[in-house]
């Protein structure tokens, strides 16, 4: 059963996954070339000045990538299910709707995590070539809210798409925009260092939200 669910989800998102991986690798190469460009043409001192004094995030190009990937994967998974009432087919499968939705979302979440692994590993390796450990560690803390934003938007978008009632959908859209906006307000390094856990707590509960529209759709409570 679960093999079949993974299979179907993979059919829906496979091209997006391939495109995401390729885009990530190209962007990582671009970042590396840009660092080299700065160091060789503008000297290491100027580069250092930009990074430390002017708080230039040399990996800022990745800022909205988790958000985009999370939204795209969620849409590719759940829009085809909801259009033409196709979700009725899935809800009639001999599996509880909770298990069904959780396994569907797990597939998307898993691929989102793989993109994160590629992104973080790529950024660490690239950074270690040119910068000291402190910069690399601060990178991890700085991008953490972006990664969290990608996870939040994946589950929130999925819930919004699955939601049969427009009233609830609008409320969820407002929550999604407001919450993710809070995670992208930094203007330098480590700004969320002491507050990130506060944002992480609601994100832990977002996967559970997916059950409510599913439950209401299946039980005919609109």
């Amino acid at each position: 059963m679960y093999k079949s669910i993974i299979y179907k989800e993979w059919i829906k998102i496979r091209w997006a996954v391939v495109v995401s991986f390729v885009a990530l690798i190209i962007t990582l190469l671009y970042v590396q070339l840009e660092i080299r460009h700065y160091i060789e043409l503008m000297t290491a001192f100027t580069n250092w000045l930009y990074i430390i004094q002017r708080k230039m995030l040399y990996y800022e190009i990745f800022k909205y990538l988790p958000l985009i990937i999370g939204t795209v994967i969620s849409m590719l998974q759940f829009v085809p299910e909801m259009s033409k009432n196709r979700m009725r087919l899935s809800y009639h499968l001999p599996i509880s709707e909770k298990k069904l939705l959780l396994s569907m979302a797990s597939v998307g979440f898993f691929f989102l995590l793989i993109t994160y692994v590629i992104l973080v590993t790529g950024l660490i390796l690239t950074s270690y070539i040119y910068y000291p450990t402190e910069i690399v560690l601060s990178l991890l803390i700085t991008i953490l809210p972006w990664l969290l934003g990608g996870i939040a938007i994946y589950f929130l978008t999925s819930t919004i798409i699955l939601e049969p009632s427009w009233t609830y959908r609008i409320v969820l859209i407002i929550i999604a925009i407001a919450f993710t906006r809070l995670l992208f307000m930094e203007s330098g390094y480590n700004e969320y260092q002491y507050s990130i856990w506060k944002y992480a707590i609601p994100v832990v509960f977002f996967p559970l939200m997916i059950f409510f529209p599913g439950h209401r759709f299946r039980k005919g409570i609109n």
Binding site: M1, K12, K84, R86, R88, H92, L93, P94, S96, R218
Partner: protein, 295 residues
């Protein structure tokens, strides 16, 4: 006889609009039921409640002994659903969709699926989204057959199908249910097609069940009597004897469950001349329109 579907005092409202009012219905195992009704009579609402996608305002809807909106996964495996418009996973190919469903049903019979699908002469890698409605209907029916369900609920199976595909659909369905022990509840607006396959007719009127009987009984007991229009016929109206009256220019058609002797007696009491009274043979479609009216 075991009941596969049981509706008791089923009532449903959309806001203030009452759609179903105390509907009672039992569907016995092993028969093919046709749900007939004009648009807006609550057919789709009833089907949605049966499929568990709509919770009734009040009353009970049991499918295979369980509340339709609380069906266990094991019970769902025994029910084959065909959704209006032949909904399918369009983003999959012929092969992929079979592979997907096969893991959900232990008694999956892939040969049933491919028997139907091979008639389409399409490659296994053909995407469902690139198929015509007729071709898609074969895919959906093939998947339901491969599931080998005890109960099939087919909502407007004929929608978008040309006569060829409709006929093919009916032929395969007939053959599939001939092995016995299968119950089918189907809706369609193509009544002559339904006549070829159904055992029982369930006719829905405004907010209520008009009739639930075997097709044979309905055709034998429901009559159309024709006579010339007169002042006396203009005073006739539907009552316990006359189910419906249709007047077209000088011709009056009376539809009734009473036999000709009873009708003659009734008309005499109403001072209607019965000199030119004649009975008109009815097919299911004419009988259905006669019972429910044209408007």
């Amino acid at each position: 006889m075991e009941n596969v579907i049981e509706l008791r005092n089923l009532t449903h409202r959309y806001g203030n609009k009452l759609v179903l009012n105390n509907l009672n219905l039992s569907v016995e195992k092993g028969r093919i039921f046709g749900v007939l009704g004009k648009n807006g009579m609550g057919k789709t609402t009833t089907i949605n409640i049966l499929m568990g996608f709509l919770r009734p305002t009040s009353g009970v809807c049991k499918v295979l002994g369980e509340d339709s909106h609380k069906l266990k996964p094991t019970t769902r495996a025994k029910i084959g659903l065909l959704h209006e418009g032949h909904i399918a996973y369009d983003f999959m190919t012929i092969k992929q969709v079979e592979k997907f469903y096969s893991n959900f049903f232990p008694a999956w019979k892939r040969e049933y699926y491919y028997e139907l699908v091979n008639k389409l002469h399409l490659s296994d890698n053909h995407r469902i989204s690139n198929m015509s409605c007729g071709q898609r209907s074969q895919i959906v029916l093939g998947l339901i057959f491969a599931q080998d369900p005890e109960l099939m609920i087919l909502d407007d199976y004929s929608m978008g199908l040309d006569p060829g595909y409709r006929s093919l659909f009916i032929d395969y369905l007939k053959e599939f249910v001939s092995v016995g022990n299968k119950t089918v509840l189907m809706t369609s607006h193509i009544i002559p097609d339904m006549e070829k396959i159904i055992d029982d007719a369930i006719i829905m009127g405004h907010q209520k069940l008009l009739l639930h009987t075997s097709l044979k009984n309905f055709k034998e007991t429901f009559h159309c009597y024709q006579l010339k229009r007169s002042n006396a016929t203009d005073n006739l109206h539907a009552d316990n004897t006359i189910s419906n009256i249709e007047t077209i220019k000088n011709i009056v058609n009376l539809y009734s469950f009473k036999d000709s002797e009873q009708i003659k007696k009734y008309l005499k009491i109403q001072n209607v001349s019965i000199n030119e009274l004649k009975e008109i043979p009815l097919g299911l479609e004419e009988a259905f329109i006669g019972l429910t009216g044209k408007y």
